[in-house]
């Protein structure tokens, strides 16, 4: 049976280091399995957050060899034999202990989004819509809130703009609401002001790491940016609106 060295972050935000663990690995094992073995052996106090071990709860986000990943979906065999593997907490969030970070800023960002409000029901039993028109919103509904995109986004990770920019995951959520055919809420002002969509410089790292393969930048953020342009940066549209309003008033 093969052995692998794992370099795992141990400690808090203020004080910690990468600790080496020599782990016995078998074919098919994922990185989270190795973490379990470390817990079962040398370090029962190694802190890690996980839940489903099936890539669906979004709890086990961390960084493996410096890349944001779900540890339960990352096979050890993906990394070259004989090389050590580093496992570190998500860099964009404050470390609580070892691999566990404080992700509460994401929940705060979520709360700022104007909630979904559907139009009145089309019939007694609900609404009528076609599959082709819900496709756009459905792509966004795949989000498992793992925060890997929030972690990799340089606006949050390198520039620390957690208060100014809601982050890619919440652009996805806004798109899920706004692109829903029966939604009635206007979120454009939110996007520009509180959501801070202008902070995103569309460098697409969020799209690269999303385990649900949501095309975050192209299908959520850029279309939402275009909506903001419609309202705030398009002089012709502004003129048309002005004329219409003038017509109505006059």
């Amino acid at each position: 049976m093969a052995r692998r060295t794992f370099e795992v972050y141990r400690g808090t935000a203020a004080d910690g280091k990468l600790e080496n663990y020599d782990v016995e690995v078998e074919p098919g094992m994922v990185v989270l399995d190795a973490i379990f073995r470390i817990q079962a052996g040398e370090s029962p106090d190694l802190a890690v957050r996980w839940n489903c071990k099936a890539g669906k709860c979004g709890s086990c986000g961390c960084e493996i060899n410096g890349r944001p990943k779900l540890s339960c979906m990352t096979r050890i065999s993906d990394y070259p034999d004989g090389e050590s593997i580093t496992v570190t907490p998500m860099k964009a969030f404050p470390i609580i202990k070892d691999l566990v970070t404080d992700v509460s800023q994401n929940y705060r960002a979520n709360k700022k989004i104007p909630q979904f409000r559907p139009r009145p029901k089309d019939a007694e039993d609900g609404w009528r819509m076609y599959q082709f028109e819900v496709d756009k919103a459905q792509e966004m509904r795949k989000c498992i809130e793992c925060f890997l995109c929030q972690d990799v986004c340089h606006v949050l990770r390198s520039h620390g703009k957690h208060e100014e920019f809601a982050g890619p995951a919440y652009m996805v959520r806004t798109a899920a609401f706004s692109m829903n055919p029966i939604d009635t809420v206007d979120r454009i002002e939110f996007l520009k002001e509180t959501g801070g969509i202008g902070y995103c410089n569309i460098t697409k790292c969020c799209t690269e790491v999303c385990p649900e393969h949501i095309t975050i930048t192209d299908n959520a953020i850029i279309p939402l940016k275009e909506r903001v342009v419609d309202r705030y940066y398009d002089p012709i549209k502004a003129l048309v609106r002005l004329v219409r309003r003038g017509g109505k008033n006059g």
Binding site: G16, R67, P68, E133, S158, K161, N201, C205
Partner: protein, 262 residues
């Protein structure tokens, strides 16, 4: 690595990634710089952009709107412009590509290192404002460059047709095919534009409620096909437009002769 520094460190190039993350930004910087340098040089030349015999016009010089343009292709004939006619049109092309959502990603990463690659540290800190303030806020005008580019694209289409009908008669050479491929690639790039995709149907949420909703959904779907391949079209069309200019330049200089098929 033994210290916590590996986890907490910030700054250019700081990362725990072990792959060659610097290869893509470096390649993009090289590619953009090379194409940019050639295009600038070609645009400043102001000569050898039209092979009159076969009616091949370099895409950098289309439409040719100053008085110095050869009679066959002259439009407006603007007299007060003393420099190369291509410089005027370059504003449109540069504006379109420069504010394109794909190229923004490419040069923000490759030139501005903001960020150089995913999960890699960058030189900038908390002063970052993204596209919320001047000058980057100008990126929001992309759709205006799109409108102008559609007009230029119509001229390119006309030029390509003319390359098959020099002096009113059908004729075809390698140059005609070069111009055709160039048009195909530029069209692919244009049709995949995010702003276009938004305007023709992306801005609709309830297609069954909107006027012409089904048709707009169809148009949006088609634009989405090109949009998925926008990066590819951006690169191929950029390189090929330079090659097209080079080919026409060499033909009009007499350095090479056009291979005639018909």
């Amino acid at each position: 690595m033994e210290s916590s520094a590996a986890v907490h460190e910030r700054g250019l190039g700081k990362t725990l990634r072990r792959d060659r993350w610097w290869v893509p930004p470096l390649s993009v910087a090289l590619g953009l710089s090379l194409c940019g340098a050639y295009a600038t040089w070609a645009v400043l030349q102001g000569n050898y952009y039209f092979a009159e015999q076969f009616h091949y016009l370099s895409p950098f010089y289309s439409p040719c709107i100053t008085a110095s343009c050869p009679e066959d292709i002259r439009l407006f004939g603007i007299g007060w412009w003393p420099l190369s006619p291509a410089i005027l049109m370059m504003g449109v092309i540069l504006g379109f590509r420069g504010t394109c959502y794909y190229y923004r990603k490419a040069y923000y990463r490759a030139y501005f290192m903001d960020p150089p690659a995913c999960a890699v540290g960058e030189p900038w800190g908390e002063g970052y404002k993204g596209e919320t303030v001047f000058p980057m806020i100008i990126q929001n005008l992309h759709r205006y460059f799109l409108y102008a580019s559609v007009v230029v694209w119509l001229f390119l289409t006309y030029d390509t047709v003319m390359a098959f009908f020099p002096h009113g008669q059908f004729g075809m050479g390698l140059g005609s095919l070069v111009l055709l491929v160039n048009l195909f690639l530029l069209s692919g790039y244009l049709f995949g534009c995010h702003s276009l995709r938004h305007i023709i149907g992306g801005n609709v949420d309830c297609y069954s409620c909107a006027f012409g909703g089904k048709a707009r959904h169809g148009a949006w779907k088609r634009a989405s096909w090109f949009n998925k391949r926008h990066m590819g079209f951006a690169w191929f069309s950029l390189v090929f437009v330079c090659l097209t200019d080079l080919y026409i330049r060499l033909v009009s200089m007499g350095t090479i002769t056009d291979f005639r098929l018909f």
